[in-house]
Symmetry: C2
Amino acid sequence: MAKEKGRITLQDIANATGVTVNTVSRALKNKDDISRETCERIQGVAREMGYVRNYIASSLRSGRTKTIAMITGSMINPYYAILCDLIQREALRLGYGVMILCSQDDPETETRAVEMALSRQADGVLIAPCSFDSPALDTLRASGIPYVLLSRFAEGERDDCVVCNDWQGGYLAGSHLIAEGHKNLAMISFHHVVYSTRKRFEGFQQVCLDAGLPTSAIHYAEPENEEEAQRCLTEWMRQGVTGLFSFCDVEAWTAITLLENQGFQCPRDLSVVGFDNILGYLHFPKPICSINCDLQEEAQQAIAMLRSRIHEPSRPPQQVVLPVSLVCRGSCKKCDA
Amino acid sequence: MAKEKGRITLQDIANATGVTVNTVSRALKNKDDISRETCERIQGVAREMGYVRNYIASSLRSGRTKTIAMITGSMINPYYAILCDLIQREALRLGYGVMILCSQDDPETETRAVEMALSRQADGVLIAPCSFDSPALDTLRASGIPYVLLSRFAEGERDDCVVCNDWQGGYLAGSHLIAEGHKNLAMISFHHVVYSTRKRFEGFQQVCLDAGLPTSAIHYAEPENEEEAQRCLTEWMRQGVTGLFSFCDVEAWTAITLLENQGFQCPRDLSVVGFDNILGYLHFPKPICSINCDLQEEAQQAIAMLRSRIHEPSRPPQQVVLPVSLVCRGSCKKCDA
DNA sequence: GATGATAACATGAACGTTCATGGAAGGAAG
DNA sequence: CTTCCTTCCATGAACGTTCATGTTATCATC
């Protein structure tokens, strides 16, 4: 039954069933214009012969590859790894393949990634760009390929994007620390991811001001490395800071460890709130309060938006901002002072 | 210069330069049979027009897609996320795209993933299968597509594979604990990944026996969930276990946290050695002794092996076993007893 | 100056699908 | 019986590239 060499093609099935390739194609796609029995007979033979559709040939003719590209910084970052996993899961469910491309936060590599997506004729691109003035973004916009920005806002609202409510997250984090009685707070962010960091701090700052804290009790730092962070944290402890908001969970963890190196303990000496709630996904049971964004929701929304863009290329850009919530898990305690 | 609609094709460049598509194709591939000046002229015009090769059309004709599929359980597991990142990085360097497919350790989804890889005409597949009797593996073998097993041995050495030395890792972990004076040891593995778990325990057991420990001082458990793990750990502490070898770092962390819930501390009450050394990649500074395998080496070897299989489909299967080493970071201390 | 070799391109077909039509058979309506 | 409409399938072309094979010039060789 099977051919001598290579894979089974529509022609092989056509020969075996006595119809033309076109009829086989339509039958396998369950199109109308095919009698029920012919359709079932053809599908039966196809299954029996172990046919798998050649998407390359299919794509060349139809112009659709049923493949999307996901461009992110690095999957060594658990946040992006989880997001990629969820994106891939949703895509597979819808019959899409996902080509994952990591830029390593390097603009040149990011451009190569975009070119790879274009040359592979991806139906669309999901991208968490390195920065807003990324040349890769320009290439993407100029190419005409559908795309959706992830986890980052673009300026001017000219792009489709899905993002969590960074501002609200910062507000919630601060509000939790304040509710626990803390009156001397700080935020730390190791890498300055322009948009997210700024928005999170703005929300954090706002709740502090709303609670009547003086600006002298609202600290902020963007240390370049662990040594700098160490010095910064030590200084904050000396100044009587009792509540810390960290840009993300990984960095919260780092901060806690750095503090423990100095003999401090969390939450005894410092209450800490993180962001992303990745520890929930990672099943690391170490309890860290965090701001949770439903990444599965983010993944599904992103793919839905991309698909709508694919089917309606000229619709106006949409921005989806996902709500966040506080997950309280024990890295915070009531302030004694 | 640009076309009205759609992308630039070889035909467009041919029209612009006054040669045929074939000549353009050869020029862009730097083939011989093209004069130097024509070649450079064509490449210049192509660059100017913003041409990107349509790999779909290219693949249909040539039979090569320059795309590989990577099938793994889940990228929520940092170990696989890191591996995927490194694989992708190496592939991009060599001009390959990577379609990443996660099986969620579900055989049915894994089969869908293999079918996706086949239908997309991937040049080859890297797979860390759910299990050895996975039906997806049978489909893969029957399809004739080049593939390499990752992180898992197959029985019978009939497949190409790249794996780290699990046995040696277990031996090293045990040897470190013994060198620190521990005489009552245990190994814990939450999920029983058949091959790796068994090999790691065999190595661990061997070094214990070599050191003259009685079998009553070599404990082992495969708890199904955290409650069971909790009971198990508590029991071991009661029995005087002072050294623990964990299947992987994530689980080591879980174990440590479970112990801390009971008032125990690491390394004060229990010395712990993990596996995979993912904390090094994740920049989580929490010090955990671990067995390190060079994942970048693993990624490069895997891709090299896959490419050699692609170019020489009938060569005998190869097995590469990568050496491991102990990374000592402070979750162990000398035994007081 | 006839022969052959080589360089530099052109020509036509092919990859496996899908799209746009075409057209035969059968039934219903007038 | 004609006309018209379905239903069901066939025919031919097309997607953009690459492969195998032709076809000229150009130049050296004897």
